[in-house]
Symmetry: C2
Amino acid sequence: MARLKRNNPIPLYIQLYETLRREIQADRLKPDEQLPSERELCERYEVSRMTVRQALVDLGREGLVYSRVGKGTFVSKPKIDQQLRTLTGFSLEMTSRGSAPSSRVLEARLQPSDAGQANMLHIPAGSEIVILGRVRLADGLPLAVETVYLPHHLCPNLLRHDFAVTSLYEVLEREYSFRLTRAEQTIEAALANSRDIGLLQLIPPAPVLVMERLTFTDQDVLIEYVQSTYRGDRYKFRAALAPRQNGWMAQ
Amino acid sequence: MARLKRNNPIPLYIQLYETLRREIQADRLKPDEQLPSERELCERYEVSRMTVRQALVDLGREGLVYSRVGKGTFVSKPKIDQQLRTLTGFSLEMTSRGSAPSSRVLEARLQPSDAGQANMLHIPAGSEIVILGRVRLADGLPLAVETVYLPHHLCPNLLRHDFAVTSLYEVLEREYSFRLTRAEQTIEAALANSRDIGLLQLIPPAPVLVMERLTFTDQDVLIEYVQSTYRGDRYKFRAALAPRQNGWMAQ
DNA sequence: TGTAATAACCGGTCTAGACCACTTCATTAT
DNA sequence: ATAATGAAGTGGTCTAGACCGGTTATTACA
């Protein structure tokens, strides 16, 4: 059992949160299995109960665990649809719902940014950006067309990866050590244009979901602008809404 | 200044949360105005700092306030687009973005539920449901077609209100004392059908956003099923996504 | 007068307890 | 055998402190 590191810039409750999350996502803790009680976790990890609760509360807010007074805390069943409140990439999302993700790269290049792109990414006009265009497939069927714009100076040499088989988010996290922590996303309906129709094998007129996303790192650095077009007949967004959490550990 | 009630089933941190929320929503605390410091709130309300923080954390999670280390906690600027994470009705949402909401009632009646409706609302098949169909307008222009299904036994005499001018959520909260606290919502793209085209004054083929929502009370009672069709050219959903709160109060 | 050190204050994290209501289960009394 | 009881364990809430690093205004020095 891993010990938590003291005198570390990473707070103890986040270390514990990530420890437990790894146990759950690696399936070492099965759905509906009971976690150690809060007081047991205190002893094992040598922290106070408030610290344990901060970790459990965060896990509960993300739907990974649920708690019952008098009984205990348990691992939740895995969710299927994309949870809007959770920031995941396409690959992770498809994997988690049991589909095999793949990609066909349409373009992967550098170019100087025009005024609009520079404004969107909060960089000086003319500075180089990485453009990555892909068709995203689930179980071999085209599901979305996605174009990502990144400031080149934040991720030099990004394009040496083959993004037909590699997850962009994994590279950004592992190789460049960016922690992607926040995003602003909009969703609207549109009619598929001729490009979408060809790439997604649609029959016009076809409705599509157009998703735009600005993703930020934990340092609040804007790292990507994504525009995705999803097939309207195959994709649905799901969100759990709550005007206030009823206590810390609602759900 | 109101005092918090002790020996009350409502936790102190929720009482404080609601006190501060009322101050903000009544505009007695203006955007970017600084709140009293955590230690000041401790003294004023005679609670410990952890309790104050639970209230502030909840306010922060909803975007009503934001905090800066070394500076203080401040009231956020009001948001414009619909925040997916926040549960609001159409009327409140339009008001908050500066549009005048109105409605045209298409149907308002009772009928026995069929199998599908009963299943959706978790009630016995054949028990009565209230059906309320409306065109929702913003500044006089049709924006959405909405049909709400409610179990009749939860809201008897609901239909004596004129829902052309009355907000359904306000009636449910004020008259029937339901606290609407949680919803499951899905969003997808579709082509407008002939009914939508007529009611929303669209020119075919036109894309629409179809939103479905199940709303629950604080007692976890399912109180409504809503299906809404929004004009794709006039409406956009916006969401702030976070994979984990970076600390409790990540803005 | 300008600047550097300092003290006061801020939110973020953490501790080591406490009491409560609820659940479960073993023990006891009927 | 069954029912009532009570103890043990659980999460939910709360207290009264503590230390840390970031921010800011003041103060003292050059």
